[in-house]
């Protein structure tokens, strides 16, 4: 089957300079296709989060080449990368990072308002739709800071989805949640990947979470140990 290539990393390397020069990533190469739910696993300090931030285009200080949906992002200007992130990448973090003064609905709407693809009414309707998808339609008008941790994380996912991104990236998206909420987040990701054909790349140290994803890339000391660890399949 011919699958659409979403992200391609070619020989990515990175150094940390503080306290001493130290190579954290070493010739990382792999590909991610559309509709895949990929998890990045590895011990603390293996470089998995560092890699994710390079893939997210937020960290530009690296060697090698990164290609997102046919577009080379290496060496692009910050403003170009910001526009690319706005349109094509959604983020979910361990700490929910909602803007606490805004309502849930507004939080979800912000990336779309930045993009400006739809009118305000359309954006609002779409934001409701995303919140409904995550079962939060009743909380839409509450301030983000009034919600529980699990609810906030789901609002963050709705926000990541608002611009229909090509890729959703998660940094320990369940790291701060109890098992019930972790399950909800996992199911949502799975649903997004399989029903909506979204691509998901998530860093996790939760083995249970990783095992149930489509594919796991395992890292150790800055190198990839395996790119296609498929649990139980």
């Amino acid at each position: 089957m011919q699958r659409e290539l979403m992200l391609e990393a070619e020989k990515i390397g990175k150094y940390f300079y503080d306290p001493i020069k130290f190579r954290v990533l070493n010739d990382i190469s792999f590909k991610v296709y559309r509709g895949e739910f990929v998890t990045l696993v590895g011990k603390s300090g293996s470089g998995k989060s560092t890699l994710l931030y390079i893939l997210s285009t937020m960290d530009t200080d690296y060697e090698g080449k990164l290609n997102i949906h046919g577009q080379v992002t290496t060496g692009q200007k910050q403003n170009t990368l910001a526009a690319l992130r706005n349109e094509k990448i959604g983020f979910v973090f361990q700490f929910h990072y909602l803007l606490p003064e805004f309502s849930c609905l507004k939080n979800v709407m912000i990336p779309a308002l930045r993009l400006g693809k739809y009118s305000r009414q359309e954006i609002e309707a779409r934001a409701y739709q995303k919140l409904t998808l995550l079962g939060l339609q009743d909380q839409a008008l509450k301030p983000a800071s009034k919600l529980s941790g699990g609810q906030q994380q789901r609002v963050a996912i709705a926000r990541a989805l608002i611009n229909d991104p090509l890729i959703i990236m998660g940094d320990e998206p369940t790291g701060n949640l109890d098992s019930k909420n972790s399950q909800i987040v996992f199911d949502t990701f799975k649903q997004l990947a399989h029903e909506y054909n979204q691509t998901i790349i998530a860093v996790t140290h939760d083995n249970d979470f990783a095992e149930r994803s489509d594919r796991t890339i395992e890292m150790q000391d800055g190198v990839i140990v395996s790119t296609a660890k498929e649990f139980g399949k």
Binding site: Q78, A82, R85, F95, L99, R114, I123
Partner: protein, 412 residues
């Protein structure tokens, strides 16, 4: 097609509304800064205006007179010559201006000249019975001199019209009148340096801001002064000139010197100490007012810096979601500008109130009402400086916020 949603200002407005107290405190800082700035500058304008008003009561914008010439060596040192020298001294020449009417006509034709009037200054003794005091009598064309020096405003008894109608009339300083114990209607005899004595009729008294002047000065008709000095009707010792803008008087004095062949002295040269004092006052007030404005700027800077460190997570997530550096700058600069604008608006109103109140406060003496003036340019300047300070105080922290590296925040 693309929609332009003003999400940046929506975010900055939310930050302002959720932090009402901080916003108000920062705005209040600007308010006080702007109010003091405008107030002090209005006061400076008032002081300047008042002090030049006082100066121009006795000094013309430009005075043309014959300067005393100094004698030169008889034989200057040249080559092997033995120089013959004498002690330099004032050449005993008359201080008479030759053909004054022609010069007056010439000066009247100059651009920006509003008024030209001749004057004869005579050193005199005032005598009444046994008492005798020295002073100076100014022979003037009273109507013209009044236009120039606003003499009428200082007259406390009688009027300048009486002087015009009485050829041997004299307008006395109140100090002279008190010492001589004369009142309008009485006679007083004056003796000039040429030993001419004339009996004059007191037609009025004037009181200036300076008691020394009041004790020595008097105005008489120019013909009477000429008689006192045993000179003909073409004798004039000074020609006084008014120009449109007295601030520019020094520019004209050199031209008039060349034009007339006599010394032309502007009021700034004649009152160098006063001008220096005014300059000092101007520098002092400007420095103080600007520092206060700057302190207000630091208030905004501080509060914005605080907001930014509190909102560092928001900034990181906004940048991750695709907000560019200049979007972040806009969010915080806009916040600073709104705070600044609130502050400036209240500040301008407060300053207007202060100026209005003070301009109606009577301080007495020769000053009368507190010398403060409404000047649109001062209010405008306050507004512009306020905006500049606010912009600077907002831009510096906003720039810092725009350079936040989101990865370093997420990895904490």
């Amino acid at each position: 097609m693309r929609y332009r949603h003003n999400i940046n200002s929506e975010i900055s407005m939310t930050y302002i509304v959720t932090k009402k107290k901080l916003t108000l405190v920062a705005a209040l800082g600007v308010t006080i800064g702007i109010a003091i700035y405008i107030f002090m500058n209005s006061m400076m304008v008032g002081f300047d205006k008042k002090s030049s008003e006082l100066v121009f009561r006795s000094t013309a914008h430009i005075r043309v007179y014959k300067d005393e010439a100094m004698s030169l060596p008889l034989l200057p040192a040249k080559g092997n010559n033995v120089p013959v020298i004498i002690n330099p001294s004032v050449v005993p020449e008359s201080d008479k201006i030759v053909d004054p009417e022609k010069i007056i006509t010439l000066l009247r034709q100059q651009p920006d000249v509003t008024l030209v009037t001749p004057q004869v200054t005579a050193s005199v003794f005032y005598n009444n019975g046994k008492s005798q005091i020295s002073g100076s009598s100014y022979g003037v064309r009273i109507a013209e001199a009044d236009k120039m020096f606003n003499i009428a405003a200082t007259v406390v008894e009688g009027s300048i019209q009486d002087l015009k109608n009485t050829p041997n009339g004299i307008l006395l300083g109140v100090g002279v009148a008190a010492k001589m114990s004369v009142r309008p209607g009485d006679n007083i005899s004056i003796t000039s340096s040429r030993n001419v004595t004339k009996v004059m009729k007191v037609v009025g008294l004037f009181q200036s801001n300076n008691s020394q002047i009041d004790k020595t000065k008097s105005y008489i008709n120019i013909s009477a002064a000429q008689q006192l000095l045993q000179e003909g009707p073409d004798y004039v010792s000074d020609i006084n000139i008014s120009v449109v803008n007295p601030e520019n008087a020094p520019d004209y004095s050199a031209t008039f010197s060349d034009l007339t062949g006599y010394k032309a002295e502007d009021w700034k040269a004649a009152n160098a100490t006063l001008v220096a004092a005014a300059n000092m006052r101007r520098i002092m007030i400007t420095v103080i007012a600007l520092s206060i404005l700057l302190v207000a700027g630091f208030g905004i800077y501080n509060i914005l810096n605080m907001t930014i460190s509190q909102k560092i997570n928001d900034i990181a997530i906004l940048k991750a979601m695709g907000f560019r550096g200049r979007d972040v700058v806009r969010i915080f600069v806009q916040q600073a500008m709104i705070i600044g604008m609130i502050g400036i608006l209240i500040g301008v109103l407060l300053a207007a109130l202060l100026v209005f109140q003070l301009s109606r406060t009577y301080v007495g003496g020769d000053i009368g009402y507190f010398p403060i003036r409404f000047e649109w340019s001062v209010f405008f300047r306050g507004l512009v400086f306020g905006l500049i300070v606010t912009l600077g105080a907002g831009y510096i922290p906003a720039r810092k916020a725009a350079n936040v590296d989101p990865v370093s925040i997420f990895r904490r």
